[in-house]
C-alpha cells in the first residue's frame, strides 16, 4: 500500500475545516448510537414514536457524517479512501445510505435493530483511528484506488444489510420450525421476504464487490507491485470472502440454496469480512 502518511498540516494555523469536521463526526456518532438503541428498543417496546425517533436520529447522523466526510475531503483533496479512519467511517456512511434505500423499498421496520448497531460499532471503531491525513504519492493510481475502495465498500454495505436480514431470518425460521412462537414471530416479517431481501442485496453486492476486487488488483499493479507479489496475509482473506459470496450467489441460482443455508452463508460471509478488514486495511 503505497501511501505516505504525512503530518497533519504544514502551516501552523489550525485547520477550521478539520475542526468542524470532527464536531460533525461526533454528532454523527452520537446520532447513530441513539438510533441503534432506539431500533433495538423498538423490538421490545412497540411504540411508533420510538421507531420514528430512531429513523430521525439516523437521518441526522447521516447528514452530519456527510458534512464530516465532505469537510475532510476538502482538506485532504481526495475522497475518504486512504486511511483506516476514512475507510471505516465511509463504510458506516454507505451502510446507512443502503439501509435507507432498503427501508424505503422493503419497509422492514425491525431491520434497523440488526444493522444500525453494526454501523455504530464501525464508526465507533473508526473514532479511535488516527485522523492524520495521508498523501498519495502517485496521483496516476488515484483513480484505481478510488474505484477499488468505493466499489468494495458498496459491496460490503450490501453484505451488511444481508447480514441483518439473515439474522432476522434465522430467528424467524427457528420460531416457526420449533413451533415456539414468541414475540418476534409476530413482529418480524415473513421468511420469504427476508430471504428475498438476502438474495437481492447479495445479487447487487456481489458484482460490486467483484469489481472492487478487480480494480484493487489493477491499483496494486499500477502502484508498482507486480500482480504476483501480493501480500498473502492481505489477499487471501479477500479471496475467501469472494469465495463465500460466490458460493451463496451461485448456490442459489444453480442448486437452489435458499432460506437457512443462504442466511447462514450471509452471516459467515460478513463475519469473515470483519476479520478480513483488520487483516487487509489496517
Amino acid at each position: 500500500m503505497s501511501l505516505v502518511v504525512g503530518t497533519e498540516s504544514t502551516d501552523s494555523q489550525p485547520r477550521v475545516g478539520l475542526y468542524m469536521g470532527n464536531i460533525a463526526f461526533n454528532i454523527a456518532l452520537l446520532s447513530y448510537l441513539v438510533s441503534a438503541l432506539g431500533y433495538t428498543l423498538y423490538l421490545v417496546y412497540r411504540r411508533p414514536m420510538v421507531n420514528l425517533i430512531s429513523a430521525i436520529a439516523l437521518g441526522l447522523g447521516l447528514f452530519s457524517q456527510t458534512i464530516a466526510i465532505g469537510l475532510r475531503s476538502m482538506e485532504t483533496g481526495h475522497g475518504p479512501y486512504t486511511t483506516g479512519f476514512e475507510v471505516a467511517s465511509f463504510f458506516a456512511w454507505v451502510i446507512v445510505v443502503v439501509f435507507f434505500l432498503t427501508e424505503w423499498k422493503y419497509r422492514i421496520r425491525d431491520l434497523g435493530a440488526f444493522v444500525i448497531p453494526v454501523v455504530f460499532l464501525i464508526l465507533f471503531y473508526s473514532a479511535f483511528q488516527s485522523r492524520e491525513i495521508a498523501m498519495i504519492d502517485d496521483p496516476s493510481t488515484m483513480f484505481w484506488l478510488t474505484m477499488h475502495r468505493t466499489l468494495s465498500i458498496l459491496g460490503y454495505a450490501a453484505f451488511a444489510i444481508a447480514f441483518g436480514a439473515a439474522i432476522m431470518y434465522l430467528i424467524q425460521e427457528n420460531q416457526v420450525k420449533s413451533k415456539k412462537l414468541g414475540v418476534m414471530y409476530f413482529r418480524m416479517p415473513s421468511l420469504e421476504v427476508l430471504d428475498d431481501l438476502n438474495y437481492k442485496v447479495i445479487a447487487i453486492g456481489f458484482p460490486l464487490f467483484t469489481l472492487g476486487f478487480m480494480t484493487g488488483s489493477i491499483w496494486n499493479i499500477k502502484s508498482d507491485e507486480s500482480f504476483f507479489s501480493w501480500d498473502a496475509m492481505r489477499t487471501w482473506p479477500l479471496i475467501v470472502v469472494w469465495l463465500i459470496y460466490s458460493g451463496i450467489f451461485f448456490g442459489r441460482l444453480l442448486v437452489g440454496w435458499r432460506g437457512k443455508k443462504a442466511a447462514q452463508g450471509a452471516i459467515l460471509g460478513f463475519v469473515t469480512i470483519i476479520v478480513t478488514y483488520f487483516l487487509h486495511v489496517v
Partner: protein
C-alpha cells in the same frame, strides 16, 4: 350536575345462558319501540340500548339511580314478557365510574367471550348511532360513547390484544403468511375432505390463495369440494406425484397410517428447488410423518401444534388485557373529570362570592364616609346593594345552569371563569 347519574343494567354471556339472552334481544325494530316508551319516562334523561348475541345492556343517565335501575329492569322484563323473578339473578347493574369502565371494557373487547375480537366495537358503534338517530342520547352519553370508541381504538393499536390468532384456522393462515408472506400466487393442496380442512382452505382462499387442488379416496367427494373451492380435483394416487406443486398441504384423511412420508416430501422439495412447503395435518390419527418437519424449508404443524399455538395466544391476549385495564382506568378518571367540569354549581358559587366581596368592600368604604347615617339607613343600603347583585346575577345563573346541560356547556363555564378571573 355534580354526579352524572349514569347507570347500566344488563345481562351478558357470563351471567346469563343463551336461552334467556335470546329472549331478551332487542332487534332494531324493538329498539325503536322501546326508545319511544323510554323517552316518555321523565326520569330517564338519556339512554342507549346495546343488544348483541352475547349481551343486552341499557346505558342511561337518570335523575335517581336506585329508581332508575329498578325501572329499567322492570322495563326489560315487561318489554319481553318475562317475569322479573326469573331474571333478577342474571341482571348486573353499575353506576357512574363503574358503568363508564364497563362500557370502555366492552367496546375494547375485554368483556367479550373471545378476548380481543373485533366485532363488538362495530356493534357498539351501531347501537350508539341508532340511539343518536332516535335522539335518545344527549350530552353525557354522546361524550361517553365517543370516548369509548377512541379508548377501544387505542387499546387495539397499543396493546397486542387483537394481535394473536385464537382459532385453529386463523393461526394456520398466519403461519402461512409468516412463511410465504403474500399468499396470492401460492397453491394449496387438500388431501382428504374433512370439514376442518375445508374451513382452513376457505380461510386461505380469502387471504388470496388462487390455486387449489383437492385429492380424496373417493374422487367424487374431491370433485365436489373442488367445485365449492373453485379448484381442481386430483386422483388420490396422483397427489403424491403432484406434491411438489403445492406450497401448502392440508391433510384430513381417515387413513390409519401416515400417507405422506419424509422420503416423499424430500423428493418434492428437491423438485421445487427448495422452495418452502407448509404442511398442516388436521387428521387424527395423523396423516403426515412427524419427521417431515426435520427437512430444511419444510414446516409441519399437526392439530395439537396448532392448538398449542392458539392456547398460547389466548394467554397472551389475557396479559394484554391486563395492560389495557391500566389504560382504561386512566380514561375513566379523565371522563369523570370531564363530567365534573360540567358542574355549574361551584362556578356560580364562586361568581357570587366574588360579587359579594366586591359589594361588601365598596359599601363599607362608602359607609365610613357617611357616619351620619342611622343604623336603619345603613341596613337599607346593604339590602339595596345585595338585591342589585342578585338581580344582575340571576339571569346569567339560570342560563349557565341550563347551558351546561347542552353539548358545548363547558365552553360557557370556561368563558365565565375566564371573564371574571375566577381561576386567578
Amino acid at each position: 350536575m355534580a354526579e352524572a347519574n349514569l347507570i347500566l343494567v344488563g345481562v351478558n354471556h357470563k351471567t346469563t345462558p343463551v336461552e334467556i339472552r335470546e329472549r331478551l334481544a332487542f332487534t332494531k325494530g324493538k329498539i325503536e319501540d322501546s326508545v319511544e316508551r323510554l323517552v316518555g319516562f321523565p326520569d330517564i334523561i338519556e339512554h342507549t340500548i346495546l343488544s348483541t348475541c352475547n349481551r343486552v345492556e341499557i346505558y342511561a343517565r337518570v335523575s335517581n339511580q336506585d329508581s332508575g335501575i329498578d325501572f329499567i329492569k322492570q322495563f326489560i322484563c315487561d318489554f319481553h314478557d318475562l317475569s322479573p323473578m326469573e331474571l333478577e339473578e342474571h341482571f348486573y347493574s353499575f353506576r357512574n365510574e363503574e358503568a363508564v369502565e364497563h362500557l370502555f371494557r366492552v367496546s375494547s373487547s375485554l368483556d367479550s367471550m373471545v378476548l380481543g375480537e373485533t366485532q363488538i366495537l362495530g356493534q357498539v358503534k351501531d347501537a350508539y348511532s341508532l340511539a343518536r338517530d332516535l335522539r335518545s342520547t344527549g350530552l353525557i352519553l354522546n361524550q361517553l360513547f365517543e370516548k369509548a370508541f377512541s379508548v377501544a381504538k387505542k387499546v387495539r393499536d397499543e396493546t397486542g390484544i387483537a394481535e394473536r390468532c385464537v382459532s385453529i384456522s386463523s393461526a394456520a393462515v398466519e403461519l402461512a403468511q409468516k412463511i410465504f408472506d403474500d399468499l396470492e400466487n401460492h397453491t394449496v393442496m387438500l388431501v382428504g375432505t374433512g370439514e376442518m380442512a375445508e374451513l382452513a382452505a376457505k380461510h386461505l382462499i380469502s387471504y388470496g390463495i388462487k390455486t387449489v387442488y383437492v385429492a380424496s379416496r373417493t374422487y367424487e367427494r374431491a370433485a365436489n369440494l373442488a367445485k365449492t373451492l373453485n379448484g381442481s380435483a386430483l386422483d388420490f394416487e396422483a397427489f403424491k406425484s403432484e406434491l411438489h406443486r403445492a406450497d401448502i398441504v392440508i391433510t384430513s384423511t381417515a387413513a390409519p397410517n401416515f400417507i405422506i412420508k419424509k422420503k416423499m416430501v424430500e423428493k418434492a422439495i428437491h423438485e421445487r428447488k427448495n422452495k418452502p412447503m407448509f404442511f398442516i395435518d388436521i387428521a387424527v390419527p395423523r396423516d403426515i410423518e412427524p419427521e417431515v418437519n426435520d427437512l430444511e424449508n419444510v414446516y409441519l404443524y399437526d392439530i395439537d401444534d396448532l392448538q398449542v399455538v392458539v392456547v398460547a395466544n389466548m394467554h397472551e391476549r389475557e396479559k394484554e388485557a391486563e395492560n389495557a385495564m391500566t389504560f382504561i382506568r386512566d380514561e375513566v378518571t379523565k371522563f369523570n373529570n370531564w363530567v365534573g367540569s360540567l358542574d355549574a354549581v361551584p362556578t356560580i358559587v364562586e361568581l357570587r362570592n366574588q360579587a359579594e366581596a366586591v359589594r361588601k368592600e365598596e359599601i363599607e368604604k362608602t359607609l365610613k364616609k357617611m357616619s351620619h347615617l342611622s343604623e336603619e339607613d345603613q341596613q337599607a343600603l346593604h339590602q339595596m346593594s345585595s338585591s342589585m347583585i342578585n338581580k344582575i346575577l340571576h339571569k346569567p345563573t339560570i342560563k349557565l345552569k341550563k347551558q351546561t346541560q347542552s353539548q358545548d356547556g363547558h365552553v360557557y363555564l370556561k368563558a365565565i371563569r375566564h371573564l371574571f378571573h375566577l381561576d386567578d
